[in-house]
Subunit: 410 residues, 2 copies
């Protein structure tokens, strides 16, 4: 069995967290100086292990074994959300590094090739899941040409040039070269903590359906327009938000979630009745039937709100991701390792967040492991996980990796 | 009786609307090139009438009679809201110009001095009611030093320098020099149109109370955080908006109005549960008792919303303007002129909007006249008024001005 080095794992996690350190978290947006410095640091670590390291044209960092045999990709994304947590992505990246090391140090595991990887921009600073989508051949040059940074509008092309990646080729997956892909990630929720479990075996990744909903009323003077004749688009938006809060629980699945992330009132002045309101809304579930039910329910509530408020409504679906199921044998490998190392304290569960594993899974067998998030907090600089859980998760994934690679060689 | 020239009045209104013309409205923000060009054009018109014209340090344009006697100020503000209507402010400014002309052309009115005036920034591009407040001595240099443009943040000092007003003295009212102040304005509502009246005699100007209300919840991942444990600040904001819509009608006065002009969710990302929500809210009424009742009601609803949503709430009152009552004798003068020229089609009414008249009224007797707004629309480029009403309003104000000035001389 490969034995991971707990002290080295934790210290590597802390070293990576120094790139763009922000309070107890990190601010490491894709292609920022801190992000590229961290990717170059990772490539060095891979090289030190005797792997062939390279950074491809979108910033994906690969550590490829020099041996001939099919290798097992292990990793996650290296960049962070803005001013967010130190483990989101970084955890799976350092697990890949540590597991590659542990296999190298374990005589019985030499010849079981691990290929650590760090994907780019899973966090959507430019394009959601850019690195993994590029790797599976799902990103056209035209998409890169037209993408800009969501925060400051810098064209992706300029960002890539600034990162020294202009003209660097993008690596494309050759499925026959890989046994599969394993990704570890913090849960980013409180299911594990709340149920007293320390390992989550991911069964599926939810589909995320997103919408832009616009209400158009009549923009007018906030002092001189009687309440009786108003068509206030802002009131329509609030009405819809409350209708969703009231009716979605009746049609949602047990694990469905829904969120209004942004409300914009136009023109947005204190003394003007909003003539237009836009809501960015999304819901997630791992069952297609539930997603379709929520979709129909939303359209109905938008229609009713328009009727009730006298505003016109326009609903645009901006994404409709399919739920993705993890490879059953890989799930079993992770689960048996968890049963040995964390008896009675592991659980099968869907992922409420999207991950690179759902993209890589289109080309090679993939699975995921979760470790608990303290208080379920993530996408915030206070995000954290107990050291003991960080270490346990890595050992479970290492054991699962060995099982999977040995299964290959039978 | 002074006879105004209808053709000249309408053509001057259209000439002024050419400065910053936008579709059928205007975009003439305070101290923009278009705004300053229009103020210089006004000064020229005043000079042509034999008045002593000058533009003061905040852009107020005055046309002072050369005669000794106390004069009657007539005007309004010259700038517009962004991409808004052609009459909001411009109407009263051109009425002042036309009435000064008509008096000059009417032998029986020579010796009744009219002082046309155009105030600056009533529309709050930098400081609400800046021009009139400066004229009554209510603006310290420090307030000008710290003010910036609400849209693009340009410091007021830079804007004044750009407008060629740096170092130009600000004119201060000498109350004994003026009989009073008359201002005409479009109603900006539909009370006149809805009741078939053509002239509104303004009795009072509402008090405007404004608030910034912030809810703080827990920012978290929108996919992995179960609905049951969320503290969504955006849901709190929507809950308050609906609570206001439900309960304010029970405690408001017959003419009270209230508006949520802006809702900001932070961080404002589709996949993050808002940790903070801010609402900009205001209400208006002409009765102090009603304002105080709404204030208490709002605080209660904010408190209840915080309880219900598990978010913490902070409510900050950003303004608490007192209602202002117009001069009774001036009101009578306007009303008798309306009775002669528009029998049975005029009404006494409060103003739901704030106007320079409430500021000037602190130092000299003031009153206002409204003409109808088609469909009650203003603060939008489609704002308009029938030509016949534009002409009628000017003649009514001219007759009222004569009555007031003659009363003086008795």
């Amino acid at each position: 069995m490969p034995k991971i080095n707990a002290g080295r794992l934790l210290s590597d996690l802390r070293v990576l967290a120094q790139f763009g350190a922000h309070r107890t978290g990190v601010h490491r947006p894709t292609y920022s100086k801190e992000d590229m410095d961290s990717r170059r640091w990772l490539a060095q670590q891979y090289e030190t292990l005797g792997l062939r390291a390279h950074i491809d044209g979108v910033g994906n960092v690969f550590g490829m074994p020099r041996s001939e045999g099919r290798s097992l990709l292990i990793g996650s994304h290296a960049e962070s959300q803005n001013h967010a947590g130190w483990l989101d992505g970084a955890l799976g990246v350092i697990y890949g590094l540590e597991i590659a090391r542990a296999f190298g140090e374990t005589p019985s595991c030499t010849g079981l090739p691990i290929a650590p990887v760090a994907w780019a921009d899973e966090e959507s600073h430019y394009i959601p899941l850019l690195g993994s989508r590029s790797f599976v051949g799902d990103v056209e040059e035209a998409e890169i040409d037209s993408a800009v940074n969501v925060d400051h509008g810098l064209p992706l092309r300029d960002a890539l040039r600034g990162a020294g990646l202009a003209g660097v080729p993008r690596s494309l997956v050759e499925p026959e070269r890989y046994v599969g892909y394993l990704e570890a990630h913090i849960e980013q929720g409180d299911v594990l903590e709340g149920s007293g479990n320390r390992i989550g075996v991911v069964t599926s990744i939810v589909g995320i359906w997103q919408y832009s909903i616009a209400f158009r009323g009549i923009q007018n003077h906030a002092g001189t327009t009687r309440m009786a004749i108003r068509k206030d688009a802002g009131v329509a938006a609030a009405t819809l938000a409350m209708a969703i809060a009231k009716h979605f629980p009746e049609i949602a699945g047990p694990r469905s979630v829904w969120t209004t992330g942004r409300i914009t009132l136009e023109p947005g002045a204190l003394n003007i009745i909003p003539g237009r309101a836009e809501m960015l809304f999304q819901f997630r579930d791992s069952e297609m039937l539930v997603l379709e039910r929520l979709h129909a329910g939303l359209r109905e509530l938008v229609h009713e709100t328009a009727m009730k408020t006298g505003c016109s409504a326009e609903i645009k679906q901006t994404s409709a991701g399919k739920p993705w199921h993890m490879d059953p044998e890989f799930q079993t490998a992770i689960e048996s390792a968890a049963a040995r190392l964390s008896p009675g304290a592991y659980v099968r569960m869907p992922s409420g967040a999207s991950h690179d594993a759902q993209v890589i899974g289109r080309k090679v067998r993939s699975a995921m492991l979760f470790v608990p998030s303290i208080s379920g907090i993530s996408h915030h600089w206070t995000e954290n996980t107990n050291d003991a859980d960080l270490v346990l998760g890595c050992q479970v994934l290492a054991d699962a990796a060995e099982t999977i690679l040995r299964g290959e060689r039978k």
